[in-house]
């Protein structure tokens, strides 16, 4: 498969083999291919189909306030520390359709920090970024999100944050005005700013060990001293050399950079 990825400028060779194979098998079956060479040549020759493959291979399952206890820790323990800074830069790496970015904007607003914050949200996949920019999510998800929000320590009526419109919930400009969305590939792109908080949750699980190390180094290069790195519930710095420069916040998946 390597030649195909190089052909299109994407390199998937550092992806976790097990997950990648599963996504490929799924797409192959979903699109009713009869043999593998047909599948490969379609990917190679048909640019639109290649884009479809990239979208289907990358996992875009996300939700607002996913893992509410994580957000509770951000709300009650991390943001109050960051609040002393004059300006806050936050990077959501692998933001997918943006649910976590809007969750963060709500936290910042409730902590009265939104006015001095900027959230950079990046993903490999341009089509999910279009969704994220709009701030429009299916209304059927709002009951779950509202429960997550309350479990995260939210005190307001969650429905005040959106307006319902034809099966969709639209989140206001006030929140999205503080977001910058852009395409960024953790595999091949470099650091582009210095941040106080980097969130990359359930993205590294799709990478093999080497690529994980590479992405973690990129985060390390992009993180201010005493800045925080937040990973997914089952992700860890434990298997990385970087862990000696970081201090884990209790048993949470949040690490503070204590050494340059």
């Amino acid at each position: 498969m390597n030649e195909i990825y190089e052909y299109h400028g994407y390199d998937f060779s550092g992806y976790s083999h097990a997950s990648f194979k599963r996504r490929i098998d799924r797409l192959y079956q979903l699109d009713g291919f009869k043999n593998f060479p047909d599948f490969l040549s379609r990917i190679r020759m048909d640019g639109d189909y290649f884009n479809r493959m990239v979208e289907e291979i990358t996992v875009n399952v996300t939700e607002m306030f996913r893992d509410p206890l994580f957000y509770k820790v951000l709300r009650t323990e991390i943001l109050p520390v960051l609040a002393t800074k004059p300006f806050l830069r936050i990077w959501h790496a692998g933001c997918s359709t943006g649910e976590e970015v809007y969750s963060m904007a709500i936290l910042l607003r409730e902590a009265n920090l939104l006015h001095k914050s900027l959230m950079y949200a990046t993903d490999l996949n341009p089509s999910v970024l279009d969704t994220a920019r709009k701030g429009v999510f299916p209304i059927r998800m709002m009951k779950q999100y509202s429960e997550n929000y309350i479990a995260s320590g939210g005190k307001n009526d969650f429905s005040q944050y959106y307006t319902a419109h034809y099966g969709f919930a639209k989140f206001p400009e006030e929140l999205s005005a503080k977001m910058v969305f852009s395409q960024h590939n953790l595999v091949s792109d470099r650091s582009f700013n210095e941040f106080d908080l980097i969130l990359c949750r359930n993205v590294l699980i799709y990478f093999d060990k080497d690529l994980q190390d590479k992405a973690l180094t990129l985060f390390d290069d992009s993180l201010a001293r005493l800045g925080y790195l937040a990973l997914g519930t089952k992700e860890t710095l434990k298997f990385s050399d970087l862990q000696k420069k970081y201090e884990q916040h209790n048993r949470d998946k949040i690490w503070k950079k204590i050494k340059e």
């Binding site: 976790s16 083999h17 097990a18 997950s19 194979k21 599963r22 996504r23 996992v59 399952v61 893992d67 509410p68 206890l69 994580f70 359930n202 590294l204 699980i205 799709y206 093999d208 060990k209 994980q212 997914g232 519930t233 089952k234 992700e235 860890t236 434990k238 298997f239």
Partner: protein
């Protein structure tokens, strides 16, 4: 079914189940003291949440060490691993575990099918897969993959299962190596790698 009742050459044993399967595990686990040459993975349908009660419950029922599964956790013989809630559990070629948050399969994440299929790819004939009680069709396709890859398949005898649908569905769709009640399953597990 009365063939050799010993299972050898096993590197990985996976127990999959849903409703009614925890009771089976609670009966089996206290009898296990060592897992000679193989790792055990338990994949149960569980509520999508952040709690570790299942891991804790399993850990108090056995003296075999239970390892918390995180991404890229190495799989070591003699240890028990529990699939975390809200992730699919997959196996890499280098004896590490990886996790995946993609779509639910059979309304489930972790899905037993996903776990069995991934393990079959990597472990082939050195995999033993056991499907227990449950109310869902998850597990059947996975067992078919395990069998195709040369692994050993054990299905809980539906009459002995608290909820017979899951093992029954598997039996309707594939031919396992063994069908056994709880006692029989325990004997098979105790026979693993004892030759």
């Amino acid at each position: 079914m009365e063939k050799d009742k010993r299972i050898n050459g096993c590197k990985l044993l996976i127990l999959g189940g849903s409703a009614g399967s925890l009771e089976v595990l609670i009966k089996i686990l206290p009898h296990l003291t060592v897992l000679p040459g193989y790792a055990m993975v338990i994949v149960l349908h569980r509520k999508g949440s952040e709690d570790n009660t299942l891991e804790e419950l399993i850990a108090i029922k056995t003296t075999v060490p239970v390892v918390e599964v995180e991404d890229k956790t190495p799989l070591m013989p003699g240890h028990i691993y529990v699939a975390p809630s809200d992730y699919h559990l997959l196996f890499e070629n280098n004896d590490t575990l990886s996790l995946d948050t993609s779509e639910k399969v059979n309304y489930s994440r972790p899905s037993i099918d996903v776990c069995f299929e991934s393990a079959a790819d990597v472990y082939g004939h050195s995999l033993v897969a056991i499907l227990l009680s449950g109310a869902n069709a998850d597990g059947t396709n996975g067992l078919i993959s395990v069998k195709k890859a040369g692994g050993t398949v054990i299905i809980q005898e539906p009459g002995s299962a608290e909820v017979s649908f899951m093992p029954g569905n598997a039996l309707d769709n594939m031919k396992p190596d063994y069908v056994a009640d709880v006692k029989g399953i325990l004997e098979l597990i105790l026979s693993i790698n004892t030759d």
